[in-house]
């Protein structure tokens, strides 16, 4: 009943080529966290509701708990680590900090990846649009107001001309 087969996958994570031997049932989230060692991608529900596991696959936000690792074979994946550098916070991150858009920080990687994907495509997203897109990510601590403000405030860094 339990035939476990593994498969070798090769894909790009944060601009670097990586490979892993994974079982067909391994989620992308688990692969990133435990095979690749990038634990910034968080797992809050494993059933596609909380958004903590959001990563960017080929430019689009995706829930890595609902995607199998084998589906990432040959694709380009960006995680919160890929949207960070050691020298300074990015404008999006700095905006989160300034607006106190995080408390426990557990939802934060998913918020950052979701917001980054949104603003990359829609730097002029208005408040309603931001709220709408973020409504797929649960945060139990902040009540969201500060997160929405942080994302709106970060739009300039993505080339928003202002409304």
């Amino acid at each position: 009943m339990i035939a476990v087969t593994t498969m070798k996958i090769e894909f790009e994570v944060n601009g670097k080529a990586v490979s892993a031997d994974v079982e067909a049932r391994t989620t992308l989230a688990d692969c990133l966290r435990y095979d690749i060692g990038l634990t910034g991608t968080h797992v809050g529900c494993e059933h596609g509701v909380c958004g903590a596991c959001t990563v960017i696959v080929n430019g689009a936000a995706a829930r890595s708990c609902l995607m199998l690792a084998v589906q990432a074979d040959g694709e380009k994946v960006t995680t919160v680590e890929g949207l960070s550098n050691d020298e300074a916070l990015t404008p999006l991150q700095a905006s989160f900090r300034k607006h106190h858009a995080l408390q426990c920080g557990f939802c934060t990687p998913g918020m950052i990846t979701t917001a980054h994907a949104l603003l990359t495509h829609e730097p002029n997203a208005d408040e309603e649009r931001v709220r709408d897109v973020l409504s797929g990510n649960l945060c139990r601590c902040t009540g969201y107001i500060s997160i929405v403000e942080a994302v709106l405030d970060a739009r300039v860094a993505y080339g928003s001309k202002g409304e």
């Binding site: 960070s84 916070l89 995080l102 408390q103 557990f106 973020l134 649960l138 601590c141």
Partner: protein, 763 residues
């Protein structure tokens, strides 16, 4: 003592140090932590709500390649360890303690039956399906009616499903009801819901057979207490165990209490002789972490014609679930003791009966008992105003405790007596400030108005928030040889920004720059004893301990400097991380060959009471029952703010949690005791698009006289009156129909049913 030395960082909106790692995905939450050679634990949980365990056969599971062990109750001798109560540890509650693995009977869906240890979590999960369990089902007790009928009893030797009755008394309630001009009698119900923090629970445990020492990663909230419980259960000395706190993804009262897994994972590590890691999944969390609230409140309020509240009496029934957990009495007890809230009510006789049922055991969730009791009280006050034909603000003004009445005693609760008093506050000033900021007079015109298919309503109410539970907290300060300061603290972080707040206090009190301070907290290795984060206590208790330690440290620094500079210690001045005597000076960095260390303890017997007033403006769509929140304002006096940025964040977050409990969140069971809300798609929580219009104003009107910071425990507060205020606003909007909500949540179907029933009654 100078209460605000330095006076520059305390009170400033300092950006958090924690953010730098969290924003980069560099936090270390427990599931991010691993040890070489670790095994993975997965727990088999009861599929039945109530039944006698006939057989657990693990042989097929153990035969699965990759499985190392399957642990059952039989591995722990004749009787597995039971988890004692942390708060209100009454001997009469001992029969209801939860065993670490179901023992003889199962009493709720999700109760642990066995632990599988395997090379990977997926193999362990595969093995679960190979464990053969036979349970002879018994009828499930799932509500007050079936609990009281007693044809099915959870703890047979006890003879009933009634665990204990709490009684809160003050004055002479019977006499007050005889004197009353008006008496209201109502039944309220607050639904079962839960803290639902975003990071699931987990542990990594490592047993060293050689040194006979245990190390546990994943501690939270009350590491020292849990170490004591664990040491007893495992037959170890407390000092043989180190509990390590990693980053913690939210607590809200629920995380960090001692659950079965707090024992099972360390015990499994000892049995296996290898490190063991366990991470809960969300379904387990919904079935296993503490539930909360679930209470029926039957209460009468006695009033004089002029609107003065003369007395309260009644009986509440709390559905505590299958066992009494570590803090399971707090909510039910608080409902009785704190129903009077910020109002002057001299005559009280309120009881809460704790019932055992075949549901997940309950514990505290932010504002335990207070959210519930405020719902009943604020509803009653609005109903009283209606009956007396009084203005709703006026009746509250008439009853709010006055500054001159402070300290003001509350009802005393029995058994496990607790006597407490409101410490200080200008309740009237905050009430008026809230009305003004809210625009109460202007918005009054909206009451009951139909605009674009929605009826509008407003409401206002006041609350108190208890904080700063004793008995004490320790802080150890070390001036390192490089001149930096390390703060070791017994307080624990659960996502509230503790590192930043404590560094602010330490920097000010040592007159050092913020970035020279490092805060280590929550782990048992840092101080001899710590009491942790609950009851809004960490800022007040930990912060006060730092202030005391800083005084001691400065003294010791002067002493060291005096020896070096050849003067008396009283001649040494400390300024900007430098010690001086006349024209000679030494920097902190050059002071000693060894770190200079001190430890201090802050003791506190008295609680602080932050307080506030909130107001809401809602509209109701009578076609769908949907309620929209147009404006929600909270004004709270916390005595002294350490960091306005984080405090504001907690206030908003707390209110939104309250709105979740008011409108959305509900843990639903069927008559067989099966939980129907097993995912976050069924258990609804607020999202970014639900409540955009929340405002919070924090004031520093009346510092607490009970601690050197003057701070009052805050952060839970916002949630407390939300249910009552929203329900009052809905009633106000629908006053033309006479709709009076008595139960939560105010989901669209419930509100619509109320509207429908009211319309039928009118016909």
């Amino acid at each position: 003592m100078n209460t605000r030395p330095g006076n520059s960082l305390i009170g400033s909106p300092v950006e958090r140090v924690e953010d730098l790692r969290f924003l980069r995905g560099k936090g270390t939450y427990v599931s991010d932590f691993s040890l070489p050679n670790q095994l993975h634990a997965v727990i088999l949980r009861s599929p039945e709500a109530h039944g006698v365990i006939r057989r657990i056969d693990t042989s097929r599971a153990r035969a699965l390649p990759g499985v190392h062990a399957v642990i059952t109750a039989a591995d722990f001798g004749a009787r597995p360890p039971h988890i004692p109560l942390r708060l209100q540890p009454l001997p009469e509650l001992a029969p209801f303690h939860q065993p670490v693995l179901a023992f003889e009977k199962v009493r709720y869906v999700g109760e642990p039956l066995a632990v599988v240890l395997a090379d990977t979590a997926s193999i362990a999960e595969d093995a679960l399906e190979l464990i053969d369990v036979e349970i002879a089902a018994l009828p499930a007790v799932t509500d007050r009616a079936s609990a009281e009928r007693g044809d099915s009893i959870l703890f047979e030797p006890h003879g009933s499903n009634r665990a204990l009755v709490w009684t809160a008394t003050r004055g002479d309630a019977e006499a007050a009801f005889v004197k009353a001009d008006v008496v209201l009698k109502e039944r309220f119900h607050i639904q079962r819901h839960a803290a639902m923090f975003m990071e699931p629970r987990g542990f990594v445990a490592d047993w060293n057979a050689e040194t006979q020492r245990l190390k546990v990663w994943g501690a939270a909230k009350v590491a020292w207490t849990n170490r004591r419980i664990l040491a007893t259960a495992m037959g170890l000395e407390e000092t043989a165990i180190d509990m390590v706190e990693l980053d913690v993804g939210g607590g809200f009262g629920s995380r960090g209490e001692f659950y079965p897994e707090d024992f099972l994972i360390p015990a499994a590590a000892r049995i296996a002789g290898r490190p063991v890691k366990w991470s809960e999944d969300r379904r387990e969390h919904l079935m296993c972490a503490n539930h909360a609230r679930d209470i029926e409140i039957n209460v009468e309020m006695a009033l004089a014609k002029d609107g003065r509240i003369l007395g309260l009496r009644g009986m509440c029934y709390s559905d505590n679930g299958a066992y009494l957990r570590t803090n399971g009495s707090v909510g039910p007890r608080n409902v009785a003791q704190f129903m009077s809230g910020p109002y002057k009510i001299e005559n009280i006789h309120l009881q809460t009966t704790m019932l055992t049922t075949n549901k997940t055991p309950s514990g505290t969730y932010r504002g335990p008992g207070r959210f519930e009791t405020d719902f009943a009280r604020e509803r009653l006050i609005d109903l009283a105003a209606k009956k007396l034909g009084m203005d709703r603000a006026e009746i509250r003004r008439k009853n709010l405790v006055a500054d001159a009445d402070m300290p003001y005693p509350l009802a005393t609760i029995q058994p496990f007596e607790s006597v407490t008093e409101l410490d200080s506050g200008d309740y009237h000033a905050v009430f008026d400030r809230c009305l003004k900021e809210f625009g109460w007079d202007e918005k009054s015109a909206l009451q009951g108005k139909l605009i674009d298919g929605r009826y509008h309503g407003i409401a206002v109410g006041s609350f108190i928030e208890g904080g700063a539970a004793g008995p004490k907290e320790d802080a150890r300060l070390a001036l390192e040889t490089d001149g930096s300061l390390t703060v070791h603290l017994g307080s624990s972080a659960v996502g509230q920004g503790l590192e930043t707040i404590m560094a602010q206090i330490a920097a000010d009190s040592m007159e050092m720059s913020f970035d020279r301070i490092r805060v280590l907290h929550g782990s048992t290795t840092h101080v001899t004893e710590g009491y942790g984060s609950y009851h809004s206590r960490s800022t007040v208790m930990g912060g006060s301990a730092i202030l005391l330690a800083a005084e001691k440290l400065k003294d010791k620094i002067r002493e060291c400097a005096a020896a070096r500079l050849g003067c008396s210690k009283d001649d040494v001045t400390i300024d900007a991380e430098t010690v001086r005597f006349k024209t000679t000076s030494l920097t902190f960095a050059g002071l000693g060959a060894e770190p200079i260390e001190v430890e201090a303890t802050f003791y506190n017997k008295k609680y602080t009471y932050a307080y506030g007033t909130q107001a809401a403006h809602v509209s109701v769509d009578v076609g769908t029952g949907h309620v929209r929140v147009h404006d929600y304002l909270s004004v709270e006096d916390v005595g002294r703010m350490i960091n306005p940025l984080t405090l504001h964040g907690q206030a908003i977050g707390s209110i939104v949690q309250g709105l979740g409990g008011t409108f959305l969140e509900h843990l639903v069971y069927d008559a067989n005791g099966q939980i129907l809300t097993g995912s976050l798609a069924d258990y609804l929580m607020p999202t970014a698009s639900d409540f955009p219009n929340i405002r919070s104003i924090t004031l520093e009107l009346k510092p607490s006289p009970n601690n050197p910071l003057g701070a009052k425990g805050a952060g839970e507060g916002g949630i407390i009156p939300v249910g009552g205020i929203i329900a009052n606003a809905v009633a106000n909007a629908l006053s033309h129909l006479g709709v009076e909500p008595m139960e939560l949540p105010l989901s669209p179907p419930r509100v619509w049913a109320l509207i429908d029933a009211a319309r039928r009654a009118k016909r």
